[in-house]
């Protein structure tokens, strides 16, 4: 069996799955339950100054029948008394000495930072996570993302913390910034031991179209909140990658954002994370999801012959390149596996209306055909096809040639006119504009039109 345990900047835990600082880590009760269920660590719900919350706090994005593909909240940091939280931290630590308990902190003055770091240290926390991320409610008071968006302020506060911290310090970054590596580098300059990202993204999750107010609605009104859940994973992955690749960051990364199964976790790890944190999925499905996450990760590691997490931390990073480094000689074209096709013609209409008119209908069958000379290899049809592996993208170049934009630029070999031999799209045939007119009506006419006496006519 592979070894799932990690040592994250000095914080050890039996597996890389931590609960993110959020409602699931609100209390000792929840954290013990989570550890019992199999979670490796927990970042306690952020401790700090006294706050009060509003009622009606969360909003969701549903996609068709799928609930909470995106999630947002307007909640603040822990509203429980600090003393209760600290007492429960020690209780959990005593009961689960092997598990990671990290105190998430957010206060204002140097003195307050010193006090709260010492207090949580005394309570037995294995490390700290400085919450510079909350995009609502706290920033108005000069905390949270107000700090995370100002690398200088961030650096100063981290330095205050480092003055007293005897346990590893993780700086949690807000994604509400144009270049995530700036605060990451500030954290490093201040001597932080690690970074975690992303916190929630400033968002309006939806608008109540009957009451003209954004969700979640508080007495007829709403405010911007913090966005998370499956929908934010792509943004998180990119930011994790940016920090992992930056030569001046070089800090362990705890990946957060849209992780709900082992596969999401593996993706974060392949882009440089060495622990992962989960919030929304635990709020949606409860702590039980950890069983699937652990078993999936184990199975993946067995199949790939990875002994430890560190065998694949950042393993995809060398393959994440700038556009100008990509091989322009590589050529794929769509291929329809006719025996699998169910004839929905989504590929046809997608390529016809949304891509390059490289798919045509055929007489006597609903299975469309690829017009190879027009296929630019954009993938769209294979993405819309509802049947697994029915449209595959097949390689057409012989794999012997390699030429990047960068190399071409260096060789003074970039196209100068649109008709240049080197220019793209040259062999790609585009129909005359007027050929479009009336085309939409070449399909089976619905009954309304039929009754109006429009003659039915079909292509082919």
């Amino acid at each position: 069996m592979p070894d799932l345990s990690i040592n994250f900047a000095g914080i050890t835990s039996p597996n890389p799955f931590w609960l993110a600082s959020a409602p699931p880590t609100n209390s000792g009760y929840q954290v013990m339950k989570a550890f019992d269920a199999g979670w490796g660590g927990a970042v306690w719900k952020t401790l700090g100054v006294p706050v009060i919350n509003v009622s009606s706090r969360y909003g969701g994005v549903n996609y068709r029948d799928k609930r909470l593909v995106g999630f947002n909240n307007i909640e603040l940091i822990s509203d429980r008394p600090l003393a209760d939280n600290l007492r429960e931290i020690s209780e959990v630590k005593k009961r689960f000495p092997e598990h990671a308990v990290i105190a998430s902190l957010m206060v204002q003055s140097r003195q307050e930072w010193h006090d709260i770091v010492r207090q949580s240290q005394d309570a037995g926390a294995d490390g700290f996570e400085l919450n510079f991320g909350c995009p609502h409610g706290m920033c108005e008071r000069g905390m949270g993302s107000a700090v995370g968006q100002e690398p200088k302020v961030l650096q100063m506060i981290v330095e205050w913390v480092m003055e007293v911290a005897q346990k590893p310090v993780i700086v949690k970054l807000t994604p509400n910034i144009s270049d995530i590596t700036e605060p990451a580098m500030a954290a490093r300059r201040a001597g932080a031991d690690a970074i975690s990202l992303i916190n929630t993204i400033q968002s309006i999750v939806g608008v109540d179209i009957d009451h003209f107010a954004p969700y979640p609605i508080v007495d007829g009104q709403g405010t911007n909140g913090g966005y998370c859940g499956p929908a934010v994973k792509p943004i998180a992955l990119n930011m994790v990658k940016n920090c992992a690749q930056h030569p001046d960051v070089r800090l362990p990364i705890s990946g957060i954002g849209g992780i709900e199964n082992w596969r999401d976790a593996v993706e974060h790890i392949l882009l440089g994370a060495s622990s992962v944190q989960v919030c929304t999925a635990a709020m949606h499905f409860g702590f039980g999801i950890i069983r699937e996450m652990v078993s999936g990760l184990e199975q993946y590691m067995v199949e790939k012959n990875f002994q430890t997490i560190y065998d694949f931390v950042g393993k995809a990073l060398p393959n994440v390149r700038h556009w100008e480094d990509l091989n322009m000689k590589y050529q794929v074209k769509a291929h329809i596996h006719e025996e699998k096709c169910i004839g929905c013609q989504l590929c046809y209409t997608a390529c016809e209306d949304g891509a390059h008119q490289a798919i045509r209908l055929q007489a006597g069958t609903r299975t469309p055909a690829i017009i190879e000379e027009n296929c630019v290899g954009c993938n769209l049809c294979s993405l819309v096809c509802p049947v697994d592996e029915c449209i595959t993208m097949e390689r057409h170049d012989d794999g012997t040639q390699h030429l990047t934009w960068k190399e071409r630029t260096a060789a003074g070999n970039i196209p100068t006119t649109f008709n240049d031999e080197l220019a793209g799209g040259r062999h790609h045939w585009v129909p005359e504009p007027a050929a479009a007119l009336g085309k939409e009506r070449h399909k089976t006419l619905p009954g309304k039109a039929r009754a109006l006496g429009v003659i039915e006519h079909k292509t082919e």
Binding site: R64, D65, K66, C341, I342, G343, C344, Q345, L346, Y348, T349, R366, P386, V387, K443, T444, L445, P446, G447, K448, R450, A451, L452, G453, K458
Partner: protein, 440 residues
């Protein structure tokens, strides 16, 4: 042992005749509509005789525009709610759904269709209005799917419409013929009331048009006459003993069932004669009424039955037993039926032949003849110049105009007996035909 005990209350009747396509909850409609792929040039539309824009109405349900969805449905088919429940969707839209090719359950188009329209009916959503009055008048004979659909379309075009119906209630066989586990009387009538509220045509009940005098009066009073009279009574078999009590026609048996519900009398041992969908319905219905033994007797082999496979499966599922390659010779008994004398048959060169010496008696106390509906030829002969084809169907052109130009026809009377959806679709076209004719 019978599968069902004889229902004595409305509740028991509803249980025995539980809806095959029950109404969807909002949640189920959301899940199911989410699965639709929104196919290009969708094959389900092509397969729908009324050409409802199915991906469109399903997408409208999914985005929460249920009223718009109902509009999409009704624009193509005024019996949109009934059709969602009574259409043989397995061989129409759902049979054509691309999911079948993946061996995945096809989209439940029928139930989604009823979902959207049920909501529009319940909330009495205003979707249509009569067109600007054009001063012309059309008489519609028959308030079945054909007649009512024609009336709606004609009203939308500005005609004054009076529907003459022999029976006490509208919707034709949807109310008097279709199996009660497909649609309830309340549902059928609610759609009728909804349509009449929107379009404002007049219906005269208990108003059969019976002979030359009636027709002459209509011809004088109206600019055009639409024939939506459907078919007639169950055809006679011409067998000895056919007139004994408890030997009934399927259409008449089902009509009584739809009206009397739990109180419908049924035998303990029932023989149903026929191999079409009506025979399957009658057999199922007899079983659900508590008959202990229901035998479906057909002249040919099982695979040659005209009924849809799923209809036969449905009958088998409630305990009906098939008896194939037998022909009835005589209905036995005194005043009442006591049995049927059969002879076995064999099919040679596509023709059914009796096998000598194979007679046998099947005891029973009720016989239901599901041997087809007669055409209303006698009545139709009163219309001057109206041609019928050799099977008694009204001859008409592509827009439903008959050989007497004042008369148009659609539905069972013209197509010889099909489904509700065909009657609804064809009548819409015929109404357009009337409009074109009267606009000349």
């Amino acid at each position: 042992m019978a599968e069902f005990s004889t229902p004595t209350t409305a509740q028991e009747f509803a249980e025995n005749f539980a809806q095959l396509k029950p109404n969807m909850s909002r949640n189920e409609a959301l899940y199911e509509s989410s699965r639709c792929l929104f196919c290009f040039d969708a094959p389900c539309i092509t397969a729908c005789p009324s050409g409802i824009d199915i991906p469109q109405f399903i997408r409208q349900i999914n985005s929460g525009n249920v009223t718009g969805s109902a509009r999409t449905i009704y624009e193509a088919n005024y019996f949109g709610n009934a059709c969602g429940k009574v259409c043989p969707t397995e061989v129409l839209c759902e049979g054509a759904c691309v999911y079948n090719l993946q061996d995945v359950k096809p989209i439940e188009i029928g139930r989604l269709q009823s979902y959207a329209t049920t909501q529009a009916i319940a909330e009495n959503k205003k979707l249509f209005a009569p067109g600007l009055a054009n001063g012309k008048r059309v008489a519609v004979i028959g308030a079945g799917p054909a007649g009512i659909s024609a009336a709606c379309e004609l009203r939308a075009l500005g005609y004054e419409v009076v529907v003459y119906e022999a029976k006490a209630q509208p919707s034709g066989l949807t109310l008097y013929g279709v199996a009660p586990y497909k649609i309830t009387n309340e549902e059928a009538l609610a759609e009728m009331a909804y349509l009449q509220g929107q379009f404002g045509y007049e219906v005269r009940y208990h108003a059969p048009i019976t002979g030359r005098d009636d027709l002459a009066a209509l011809e004088a009073e109206y600019d055009a006459i639409f024939l939506g009279i459907g078919l007639g009574h169950t055809s006679a078999l011409g067998l000895p003993g056919e007139d004994r009590a408890n030997c009934v026609g399927a259409v008449e048996f089902i009509e009584a069932l739809r009206q009397r519900q739990a109180g419908t009398p049924v035998g303990r041992m029932v023989v149903v004669l026929g191999g079409g969908n009506t025979a399957m319905d009658a057999a199922s219905e007899a079983a659900r009424l508590g008959a202990e033994n229901v035998v479906l007797a057909y002249r040919r082999g099982k695979d040659e039955m005209g009924a849809y496979h799923f209809e036969y499966d449905l009958a088998k599922g409630v305990g009906v037993r098939g008896l194939f390659n037998v022909a009835p010779l005589e209905i036995l008994g005194d005043d009442y039926v006591t049995g049927v004398r059969f002879i076995r048959t064999a099919v040679a060169d596509g023709r059914v032949q009796e096998v000598p010496g194979t007679e046998f008696t099947q005891p029973c106390d009720m016989v239901i003849k599901a041997t087809g509906q007669a055409k209303q030829t006698h009545f139709l002969h009163h219309i001057p110049g109206l041609e019928l084809d050799n099977r008694g169907r009204i001859v008409a052109d592509a827009v439903g105009q008959t050989t007497n130009p004042q008369y148009f026809a659609s539905g069972d009377a013209r197509n010889g007996g099909a489904e509700v959806v065909n009657a609804a679709a064809e009548a819409k076209v015929a109404a357009r035909g009337i409009h074109a004719f009267l606009s000349k």
